[in-house]
Subunit: 452 residues, 2 copies
C-alpha cells in the first residue's frame, strides 16, 4: 500500500490510504449527531449549515427515522434489496403514494425512482431523447436500420440529438450529465464530452429587486441567445431535444434568475418543441419555503420532467405521461433506486407536514437573509451579493482564498459551511433549522469574519 | 392519472400506474422470503435462481444481516447518510479494510466506493481518461487552453479519447456506460452516443474443451481485430485510452471466452498503453467459485481497474495507484456510495469465509452444469450450449419465444429464472445455493421443459 499513512479513525495508529482522502474535511460521529448538530470524532459539536452537501432533510437522528429502523416490519426491506423494476415489494406503490406522489409537483402523476442525482438526470435525458425521436419519427416503431445502428453507436439508431444547458449549471458527473455541467474545469478536464449547445446564464446584480431593469436586460439577452441556439442547432440537423436547468444554479455559485426568466424560458421550449427538464436535485425538498423551487414561478405547466435526489433521500424524476417510455426496459437498471430510502422519505414527508417545516424554512430564511444583509453592510470590503429564497441562501466573499479561510474559521468556531462557485458560501441547513439556529449561526459567522 | 389501473399491492383495489410496470414480474414479500426462497405476495414460495438480477449474495434475510440491522450501534449509519468523500463516519476505513479490502483482487491496494454498477463504470472511465491524458501531457498540470475549453465541452480540455469495448458487452445504461454497451437495441435506441471502437467478441462453441482448436482460431481473429482497432484509432488521433470487458458477457448472453483469450488481451493493452478495465459487476462476488472471475485467468497483473456492484451491495472499483486522481474533486459526487451497504457487505464477506461459500459455489455449480448437460442431451431439439463456471451457468433455448415460455412455466412450478442474450437462460443463484437446491432446480426445470 503506497501513499502516506493518515489518521482515518479514532484509533491511535495511522491508516493506509485506501481511498482518496484529500477531500475529507473531518471524520464524524453519526451516532452522536443530533438535529442541526454534527459531532466529529473528537466530540466537537458543530452547527451544520451544509448538511452533507444539502442532503439531510430533517436533521440528524430524527426520532421519526429511528422508528423506521426499529420497526421489525421494515427489516426485510433493509436486508434484501429488490430489483424494483422487476420484483417490487408489496408496499412499494403504497410508499410511492404516501411518499414521492404526496409531494409531486403540480401536474405530475408519474414518478420514476432512481438511486442518485446522476442516474436521475441520465435517465431523464434518455426519456427526453426517446420522446423526441418518437415525435420526429411519428411512431415509436424504429426502422430496421435504426435497430441495427443503435447497437454500434451510429446514426440513425443513436441520433445526433442534443440538450441545451447553461453556463454555470451543474447536473452531475457521469458522462451524460457532465456534458451539461459547466462549472469548474477540474470536474470536466480530460473527460471526452458531447458537443452540445450551451447558453449563457444571466449574471444578475443583487439584491434582485434593486436592479430590476438592468437584470431584465441581462435576462432578455440570455433568453434570446438560448432561443437562437435552439433555432440554429435545429437548422443544422442537430436538434435540441430538451433544455435542462436548475431553479437556482447551486454548485455553480448560487446564481439566481427571476421567476419571469424561467417563465419565458418555459415558453421558448414549448414554442420549439423541446422538453423542459427542471433539475431540483439541490433545490428540491423544501428549503426554499416551497417543496419545489420551481413552484415559485407560478406556472400551470412549469416543466415536463423534474429530477430530484439529495434531501429526497432517493433519486428519481417526475415526468409527464408522454415521457413514459413506450416499451419495457428502455429506462431500466438493476435496482431502480433503493426502497429503504422510500421508507425513510415517507416519514420525512410526514414530519415536514406535521411540523410545518416549509413555513419554518421561510421564517428561518428571513432571519438568515436579513442577517446576511446586515453583515455585508458591516463588512462591505469582504462580503457582497447576499441572496436567497427561504434558507437556500448564499453570500460572496471578496476572493477564493478569503472564502476558504472563512470556511475554516467558521468551522473552528463550530459552524460547518460549504463553498460554491469561485468565491461564494452556500447555506444549506436542514428543514429543522429554526430562527434561533439562524441567530446562532449569524453570531458565529460574524465572529469568524471579524477575525479576517 | 392516465393508463390502466393494475394490481400493485395486496389490497383489493386496483392502483394507478405511477411507474412503468410493464417489466414487473410479480410483487414480493421480502419479510417472508428466506435463504434461496423468494415468496410472492400471494404466499407462493419459489426457489430463486435469479436473485434480483444476480444481486443477492447470501440469500434472503440471512441472520448475519438481520443482526447488522438490530445492532443499535449501526442506527446512526442507517438514518444519516454521510457525504463519504467529505465527512466519512469514524468506522469508514475499518469497514473498508474488513469489507472491500479483505476481498481485493491480487495486486490492488486502493478502492473507490460508488453506489451502483453504472457510476462505478462511469467513474472508472473518467479515471482512465484522466490517467491517459496525464501520460500524454507528461504532467498532470493542464494548459490554460485545456482549462478554458474543458468547461465548454471542447478539445483539448475535453479530449477526443475513446474506449474500446466488445460486441455483446454490457456495462450499464448511463450515457458513458451505454456507449460501451452493445447488447439489445432497445437499451440504446434513440440515445446519442460516442463513436468509439467496438471489437468482436469470440463466438465460441460449447463445451469449450471439445472445440479448443476452432475456438482458438475465433479468439485469435477477435484479438487481432481488437489490436488493429487500437492501432488504427491511435493513428487517427482518437486514442484508445482503455479497453473494457466482462470476464463472462452476462447480459449479452453468457458468452464465455477462454482464460487464454483474456491473458492475451491483457498483453495487448499493455503493449499499446491502454488501461484494462475488467467489469465484474455481474461476475464478481463469488459465484464462479473464486471471488473474482478474472482470478481464473491466473495472471499476476490481470487488470488496472476492476469494477463491481450487485452482490457486493455497494458499487465501486479497485484501482492501481496510478489511477488515483492527482487532485481532489476529480472523481467525486455527493454520496460516493452508501455506507449502510459497506456495513452489510462486511458481514456478507465474513459469512462467505466462515461458511466456505466459494467452495459451495464450485460444488453446486458442478451439480448444475452436469445436470444441464444431461438435459441438453435429453432435449437436443430444445436446449444447447450448456456452459458455466461455478454456479454462473447458462443454457440456450431454441428460440426467444420458447425461452420466454420456459421461464414462465418454470416460475409457475416454483423456480424464478432470468433470460439473457436473445435465447439464453442465465442461472444466478445466491452463494448459499447448495447441492440439494441444484437438484431441486434441475427436477423442476426438467418438468417445465417436458411440458413444452
Ligand atoms: S449512477 Fe446513480 S447510483 Fe450509480
Amino acid at each position: 500500500i503506497s501513499g502516506p499513512l493518515y489518521r482515518c479513525c479514532p484509533g491511535e495508529h495511522l491508516c493506509p490510504p485506501l481511498q482518496s482522502v484529500v477531500q475529507v474535511n473531518f471524520f464524524c460521529d453519526y451516532e452522536e449527531s443530533k438535529g442541526n448538530y454534527l459531532v466529529d470524532v473528537d466530540g466537537n459539536r458543530m452547527l451544520d449549515v451544509y448538511t452533507q452537501i444539502a442532503s439531510i432533510p430533517i436533521g440528524y437522528n430524527h426520532p421519526a427515522l429511528t422508528k423506521v429502523m426499529t420497526d421489525p416490519k421494515n427489516m426485510g426491506t433493509f436486508v434484501n434489496r429488490p430489483a424494483l423494476g422487476m420484483m417490487p415489494p408489496e408496499q412499494f406503490s403504497e410508499k410511492l403514494v404516501n411518499g414521492l406522489m404526496a409531494v409531486a409537483p403540480k401536474g405530475f402523476s408519474r414518478v420514476q425512482t432512481m438511486a442518485c442525482g446522476s442516474c436521475s438526470n441520465e435517465n431523464a435525458y434518455k426519456a427526453i431523447f426517446i420522446w423526441y425521436r418518437n415525435k420526429m419519427r411519428g411512431t415509436p416503431e424504429p426502422t430496421p436500420e435504426e435497430v441495427r445502428t443503435s447497437v454500434i453507436n451510429q446514426v440513425p439508431g443513436c441520433p445526433d440529438l442534443t440538450l441545451l444547458s447553461f453556463m454555470g449549471g451543474f447536473h452531475g458527473r457521469t458522462l451524460g450529465c457532465l456534458a451539461t455541467t459547466h462549472t469548474k474545469a477540474i470536474q470536466k478536464l480530460d473527460v471526452p464530452s458531447f458537443d452540445w449547445p450551451i447558453a449563457p446564464f444571466p449574471q444578475l446584480r443583487y439584491p434582485l429587486d434593486q436592479f430590476e431593469r438592468e437584470n431584465a436586460r441581462e435576462e432578455a439577452r440570455c433568453l434570446e441567445e438560448a432561443e437562437d441556439l435552439i433555432v440554429k442547432w435545429n437548422q443544422k440537423g442537430r436538434h435540441v431535444a430538451g433544455v435542462v436547468i436548475e431553479p437556482i444554479q447551486a454548485e455553480g455559485g448560487d446564481n439566481h434568475a427571476s421567476f419571469d426568466f424561467y417563465r419565458k424560458l418555459r415558453g421558448i421550449t414549448k414554442k420549439h418543441g423541446c422538453a423542459f427538464l427542471v433539475d431540483e436535485v439541490q433545490t428540491g425538498g423544501g428549503s426554499t419555503g416551497k417543496f419545489w423551487a420551481h413552484a415559485h414561478w407560478g406556472l400551470d405547466d412549469p416543466a415536463d420532467i423534474v429530477s430530484f435526489s439529495k434531501k429526497m433521500l432517493t433519486g428519481g424524476y417526475y415526468q409527464k405521461d408522454s415521457f413514459q417510455p413506450d416499451k419495457p426496459f428502455r429506462i431500466f437498471n438493476t435496482w431502480l433506486g433503493d426502497h429503504t430510502k422510500n421508507l425513510l422519505l415517507t416519514e420525512v414527508i410526514k414530519v415536514i407536514k406535521t411540523e410545518n417545516l416549509l413555513d419554518q424554512a421561510k421564517r428561518s430564511g428571513k432571519v438568515m437573509l436579513e442577517g446576511l444583509y446586515d453583515l455585508q453592510d458591516k463588512y462591505p470590503h469582504l462580503l457582497s451579493k447576499a441572496r436567497g429564497i427561504g434558507t437556500f441562501c448564499a453570500i460572496d466573499v471578496k476572493d477564493e482564498d478569503t472564502r476558504n479561510l472563512l470556511l475554516l474559521k467558521a468551522r473552528n468556531k463550530g459552524v460547518v459551511l460549504g463553498g460554491c462557485g469561485t468565491q461564494s458560501i452556500r447555506f444549506r441547513p436542514a428543514l429543522v433549522f429554526k430562527e434561533h439556529h439562524a441567530h446562532l449561526f449569524l453570531d458565529i459567522f460574524n465572529d469568524a469574519i471579524a477575525e479576517l
